[in-house]
Symmetry: C2
Subunit: 203 residues, 2 copies
């Protein structure tokens, strides 16, 4: 017998790495990013300090700052509400309402900003974020629209990707370019969905 192997992988000798430290590091990074610190100015020192951890502990796990940020963003899972409501309209409103609610948090806004700006200089990061955080949402939205085209609530020839762009894009546009101070109307999701559905419904 060499080692008691509960798992298939040989456990290396010595003290194992602390999962708590790892989590603290990622949380600290997300905290800082969520406060508006950009990726380039995000310093390992600040992360270590915030996490109550030595820099060594960080460098031992990630060689790049970008790798760390990628792992941090990948740990984010978007909240997707159950979308099996009475109608496509209800589901779309529910979906946009959650998106709008989320975008009222500083943290979400900052991280979205980072992700949207990342394509130019951190494509790996953007790609990963897209896969982890955006795609699941798009899939949920796509399923709702797909269902609509199948049960007759929506036009059968509706371009679903286009419909998604219209719904999500309108929401994004309003939350981005409406002054940020200017309070968005509480029924914005309903307004968007109702306007969009005019074109989505069968003749």
């Amino acid at each position: 017998m060499t080692t008691q192997q509960t798992e298939g992988v040989a456990r290396p000798a010595g003290r194992p790495r602390s999962e708590k430290a790892e989590k603290a590091i990622i949380d600290a990074a997300l905290d800082l990013l969520g406060e508006g610190i950009g990726v380039p100015e995000l310093s390992i020192e600040a992360i270590a300090a915030r996490a109550g951890v030595g820099k060594t502990t960080i460098y031992r796990r990630w060689s790049n700052k970008e790798d760390l940020v990628v792992d941090a963003l990948a740990s984010l899972k978007p909240p997707i509400p159950p979308l099996h409501g009475a109608s496509v309209r209800d589901d779309l409103v529910t979906y946009l309402r959650v998106v709008g609610e989320e975008s009222r948090h500083m943290r979400t806004r900052c991280i979205m900003n980072i992700a949207m700006s990342a394509w130019e200089r951190h494509p790996r990061l953007a790609e990963r974020f897209q896969a982890i955080a955006i795609e699941p949402r798009k899939a949920a939205l796509r399923a709702v629209l797909q269902r609509g085209t199948e049960n007759g609530e929506l036009r059968s020839d509706l371009d679903i990707e286009m419909a998604m762009a219209i719904l999500s894009g309108a929401m994004l546009w309003r939350t981005k370019w409406s002054g940020e101070n200017a309070q968005l109307p509480g029924d914005l999701p309903e307004q968007i969905v109702d306007e969009a559905l005019r074109g989505f419904r069968p003749r």
Copy 2:
């Protein structure tokens, strides 16, 4: 006689400030921002070097880096094509086509990223950019839609701000979350406009 006053303002004694230097500084700043340098990491030294100018010359004119960036972004005027085409549809397609064409330039994308991220930490900058670069576009788009509601091409009860959000938002969404590598279809503007107009046209 105190001074030859071609203008109403008294010209101060001594060597006048070089307009060429001022322009070079702003151009250098825009260049760097357009290459993906973010505001926080944009260094005065880099600007001075790029502009072929002493740091003194910069500090003499702007006390903040933010002030400089604000002036730099304010010097940008968006290209707005003449929108008096045969139909509302044509004008909308023309408009979105220009937007799409612009967004294929690294420089435009980077500066848009900065502007969109600026609300959180540089609200003055965002506000200024909105007034200088966004509002004129919105006004042009609004005029087209307004005309449509008046001449019967569009529903008379169309919510114009919402329609703008749908059109611009759909375009923004597609250019932002489509992988950046994935080439957007050449007729994307037509697709967006045609889908949107389904709901905008009178019953």
